[in-house]
């Protein structure tokens, strides 16, 4: 049977679940949350969790589209310039390669990891986890992967890189003729798809699907 992405939250939330606020440690019982609404900490106001409309289907669709756009954005030139008849193309990874040519492999890594490797790993990893949960496939390592993805997330910097592209566009426009490549448009679409998948995704929901019984177990053990 397929998970529709909402059963777990509804069954648990009928009584309210014990929650510890991630930001202030307030212990509280959280009642049911309607789809499209957030549960906020009663003390500090931080978001405890969301119940996004669309369950798991929506982020899975966005992340699948992100995967395609990621490949296109990384295999096509982002922009090209021509100075005195010489044309030079650059893809996203070329930015890091330029630092290798300049003799700074450590800087190349600092550029390549947050602009290509971490986002790519996050996108593929999330697809694996979401597909595994959505279609009840129980693929190996789903839990471990989700643990590592939540630690990896802050190190992906696609949005900062996009601003970097825009700033260098303006800088170079003063020096040479610039043409935007397919990679640029794909990258632009990728940013929106990636942001949409993160925004429609709630790790709390994923963890409930992976081990929904623990919260009820905890309730039973601590009922007295």
């Amino acid at each position: 049977m397929l998970n529709d992405g909402t059963d777990s939250i509804e069954s648990i939330a009928q009584r309210g679940t014990l929650f510890v606020c991630h930001d202030c440690d307030a212990l509280q019982r959280v009642p049911a949350v309607e789809p499209g609404h957030d549960a906020l900490c009663v003390r500090c106001g931080s978001r405890l969790f969301r119940n996004p409309v669309g369950g798991i289907d929506k982020p899975l669709a966005y992340i699948f589209a992100s995967m395609i756009m990621f490949v296109i954005a990384n295999t096509n030139p982002v922009m090209s310039i021509s100075i005195l008849g010489l044309v030079q193309n650059a893809s996203i990874s070329d930015a890091a390669l330029a630092f290798i040519h300049a003799g700074s492999p450590e800087l190349a890594a600092i550029v390549w990891l947050p602009s290509v490797f971490f986002p790519g790993l996050t996108i593929v990893g999330l697809f694996y986890v979401l597909a595994s949960i959505r279609f009840d496939l129980n693929w190996p390592g789903t839990r471990t992967l989700l643990v590592w993805l939540s630690r990896l997330l802050p190190w992906g910097m696609l949005d900062v890189f996009l601003l970097g592209i825009l700033v260098s566009l303006v800088k170079l426009a003063a020096l040479a003729d610039i043409a935007l490549g397919i990679g640029f448009y794909a990258f632009l679409v990728l940013i929106f798809l990636y942001a949409a998948s993160i925004a429609s995704l709630e790790t709390h929901t994923l963890w409930e699907h992976l081990g929904g019984d623990y919260e009820r177990q905890f309730e039973a053990e601590n009922a007295g």
């Binding site: 030079q88 947050p114 602009s115 910097m157």
Partner: protein, 205 residues
């Protein structure tokens, strides 16, 4: 909703840092989250001293990041170094003030504000302050979101270097400030991750 809420730690319960599950803690402190397998603890270990160590290192790196050249441009045999500030001044004098604002905000203001914010949070925790807890929690979350934008100029230099490769005519190379900037971003991210925002709420009023 409860009229008053207490800390989970007082009830012997901790929230798993990774998956958020409320976990009953073992008496000896060594507890594994039954759902995701991560180690669960009430507060991050040595939060204050680790955060200070990262923060002070970040501040030390902030100095060469701003005084050393970010980018070296070689044109017709002449090499010129550009610091962040000289880039900002260049754009201001050429009327592109919006670029100047973006670069100044991301490269000069943001890292400094993040260092000051985390330093203030650490001092307020160590002094056991009980006021403005909401604002301090919000400040922590703001520092969490904004820090990565300081990577902007490194990406710009990389893209410029990738595009301007005209052999002996013109070329762009990264300066020593690049690695310093990257370290400021990484170290302030480590400092913010080491700092446990729950400490803000620990002292009773």
């Amino acid at each position: 909703m409860q009229a008053s809420v207490g800390n989970a730690m007082e009830q012997g319960i901790a929230g798993c840092h990774t998956c958020g599950l409320a976990v009953r803690m073992q008496a000896d402190g060594e507890t594994e989250c039954p759902r995701c397998g991560s180690e669960v603890h009430y507060r991050k270990h040595n939060s204050i001293s680790r955060a200070w160590a990262f923060l002070i290192s970040a501040f030390v790196m902030y100095i060469p990041a701003n005084t050393e050249p970010m980018m070296r441009t070689t044109a017709f045999g002449n090499t010129e170094g550009d610091t962040i500030i000289s880039g900002v001044v260049y754009f201001l004098s050429h009327g592109e003030w919006y670029l100047a604002v973006v670069i100044f905000a991301a490269s000069v203001m943001l890292p400094l504000l993040k260092i000051i914010a985390i330093g203030y949070l650490l001092i307020s925790i160590q002094r056991g302050e009980t006021v403005r807890r909401h604002q301090r929690t919000d400040l922590y979350k703001l520092a969490e979101i904004l820090g990565k934008w300081s990577m902007l100029d490194i990406f710009v230099v990389a893209l410029m270097a990738a595009l301007i490769q005209m052999g002996n005519l013109t070329s762009i190379h990264p300066g020593p400030a690049c690695i310093a900037f990257a370290l400021v971003v990484i170290l302030t991210m480590f400092a913010e991750m080491a700092l446990d925002p729950k400490l803000i709420w620990d002292r009773k009023e």
